[in-house]
Structures are given as C-alpha cells and as structure tokens.
Symmetry: C2
Subunit: 213 residues, 2 copies
Amino acid sequence: MSAIRLLVLGAVRQHGRAHGYQVRNDLEYWGAHEWSHAKPGSIYHALKQMAKQGLLHAHEIAPSTAGGPPRTEYEITEAGTEEFLRLLREALTSYDQKMDVKSSAIGFMVELPRAEVVTLLKERIRRIEQWRASVTEHYVPEEGPEQLGHIGEIMNLWIHTADAELAWIQGLIGRIEDGAYSFAGEGEPFVGILAEGEENPYATGERHPEDAG
Amino acid sequence: MSAIRLLVLGAVRQHGRAHGYQVRNDLEYWGAHEWSHAKPGSIYHALKQMAKQGLLHAHEIAPSTAGGPPRTEYEITEAGTEEFLRLLREALTSYDQKMDVKSSAIGFMVELPRAEVVTLLKERIRRIEQWRASVTEHYVPEEGPEQLGHIGEIMNLWIHTADAELAWIQGLIGRIEDGAYSFAGEGEPFVGILAEGEENPYATGERHPEDAG
DNA sequence: CCCTCGCTAGTCAAAGTTGACTACCCGATC
DNA sequence: GATCGGGTAGTCAACTTTGACTAGCGAGGG
C-alpha cells in the first residue's frame, strides 16, 4: 500500500472541494513532502486515476482566481469516502514499516471514533507479535545475533524494530484511552488545511530523511 | 533508493555468472521475497536495465540444462561492481527507514572491510542524530506528545523510531569492533548462494510483513 | 510600457513495479 | 502414447512514480 491515495483522499475530503495545487499545498503544510514521496506528478496522477475510478468527482476546469492556468476541482464521492476509511483502517492495523503510511495513518486517525482506533491498534499489536514469533522460530534473541553469522543481524534488526514499534503503540493506546485528542463524533473536528490566502508557516522546512541521499 | 538493484547486483556478483531464475532463487534463499518487494518482473527488468547501462554484461541465450526455455546469463562488469559498492555504502550510511534497504545492507556489509563498515555506520549515526535534532526543533519529547495535538504523535513516532535505530546500530558497531563475523579481506568469504542442485531449506517460509494485507 | 521574476497549475516521457500470463520440457499416470 | 502436473525461465500490459519541463498571469522595476 502506498500512502499517496490515503493522503490525497484525506486532503480532498477535508477541503470538501479542491484542485491539485491545493492538495499539493496541504501536503506541504503537513510536511508530507518531506516524509512521504508525494511529488506533483504522483498527486495529479492519483487525482486523475481516482476520478476515473469514481472515488472522486472531477468538476471540469474553472478559471484560476489567483493567476495561472485554469484548474480542475475535485470532490470526494461516497465511494471515495469508503475507500478513504478502508485505507485508513488498513494503514492503522497492518504491520507495514513504511514511515509515510504510518505517519499518514496517525495524521488521519482522528477521523475515526476513539474506540475503533484502539481496536485497530490492538489488532496491529497482534500482527506484530505474530510476525515477531515467526522470526524467533529461526532466531533466538537471547543467544545474541552471532548465532547465524552476520545474517543473524538482519533478524536482530527485525526484532529490535518490532519491539520498538510495540512499545510505541502501547504508549499511544494508553494516551488515547486516557482521553487525549479529539476523535470523530467528539465535538470540534481537527482541521489541518490552509484557508484561502492563509500563509503556510512550514513552507520552507528543513531536510528530513527519505530524501537524504 | 530501491533495494532491487543492490540485491540483484549482489546476487550476480556472488555467482560470478547467473541467469534471472538463479537470481530469483537466491533472493528466495535469502528470504528476500518476504521482506523486499522483489517480484520476478522487477528482477528481470532490473537485469535488462542494468545490462543496458553497462553494469552487467549479457551473454546471449544459452539452452537450459534443466528443462525449460533457454536463458540469458549475466556477468557483473567493472562498472557494475563499482555501482554495487556505491549502493551498498549508501544503504549503510543514509538514514532510510525502508526495511528492505536496511536488510540488504546488513546482508552485504561483509563485502566491505571491517573498518569501513564501522566508519559508514558511524556516519549513519551522525545523520540520524541530525534528523532527530531537526524534529526536536518543533517537538520537545520531554513534554509528551500532546503538545501539538495528535500531530505530535507523528513526531513522537519519528523520535521513537530514530532512537530505536540508534540503539540497534550502537550494538551492531560494538559487535563488529569486537571482532564478530568475517569481512572482506579476512579469509573465507561468506557465500550465500545455492550450489547447482542444492535444495533450498527456506523455500516455503512463513508469512512476513510488508505483504501482510 | 515592456520585461522579467516568481507564483500558480499542471503536463509529459522515462523508469520502475505488479500480477497475471506464456512456453518449454520432464516424468509419471492412465 | 496421450496427457497432466510441476518445475524452469521468462514476457507482457497496466499501473505508479519520478524529475524535468511548460505555460499563464500579475506585480514591480526601470
């Protein structure tokens, strides 16, 4: 699963109606150009593709209000909303180590009810533990990484990574259960979009990994 | 950076001369079909592409010795070896969270001299710390994740991930400095390929992440 | 009044990835 | 002696990603 569809659907959804450049700007506002691989080409491609698949509805070209060429505006459809929620749930539960997917999932988690997020995260824990168990069938952490030659270091890395993620999720679940943040159906929704004309305070962020060469 | 080129170059290099199916089998032997996204299509594509770019030399079709259609055999060139080492060094130093790149890097690290690997890993540490510092400009871990709303959880995840990787690398460097494993120029090289006719004990492994749906 | 700079909004070709499909041959089975 | 399954070896079309490029417009300087 790539994070692009989730990000683009989420951006269009929060706007109600958006053109490509707006989506691009939201992702930049979220810092997503730094931790996801959301380049312009991918964004426009995703918009067109999802319009073709009925997840978005394309309103044909409106003249730009701010200089520049005319633009196509998109609105999310019923099917698109379902797909968004499906992708979001999948991103929250599946043990996918891709940072962009994880970050997007956390960013959008408040679009689901609190109880469901906890359930999904617990399912994620179950899957991580299952994967961890399948690794330790070959590799016994207690005996140290040397047991299989340097290849053991790979499994050591996996176990380390899995354990770190488990610890992190436990913390997150704890905070959510203790009432942190505002989830779907709990009053004021969180809105992470830029109003028309508002300036983006994060537009010129510093370098982040995944683009480090 | 995708792991495919590194994996394919490394496989061809260890064989001396290999056809696509052999590479495919090596990757399966290494379990790479489970933690990397190395599908047949990608492997054959990479072979052709790298042959076109002069990284591999393609010996035109030899009739198969074991049933099946004729096959193209590849040998690594001077340029290919350089590219392999370049990719390997990059995979070891750059803070790229992709599991397949990291795992490949560890798998091949013994192709470099021990001292160089330590140097590269220390550079990796430097970069991770730098990235960590750039995150903590916005986010103070000591104040807990709630300070920025649920968006703080994303940064909390990043810090957690970075710290876990730092701890893991420190351990790895320690073991390498203490003389573990056999690196380039230290006698018997590690060979991770299947001899002609040898059976693959890992051919039917269990499910691993990245393919978990 | 013209020209260039910078922002707006997007296109496009080339490369990479995916999953399904093909073709060949051997040995066993009916 | 047909044919059927399974391993060998690879192709292909569809889709996605990437990076470089284009084109319109307004503001401001000279």
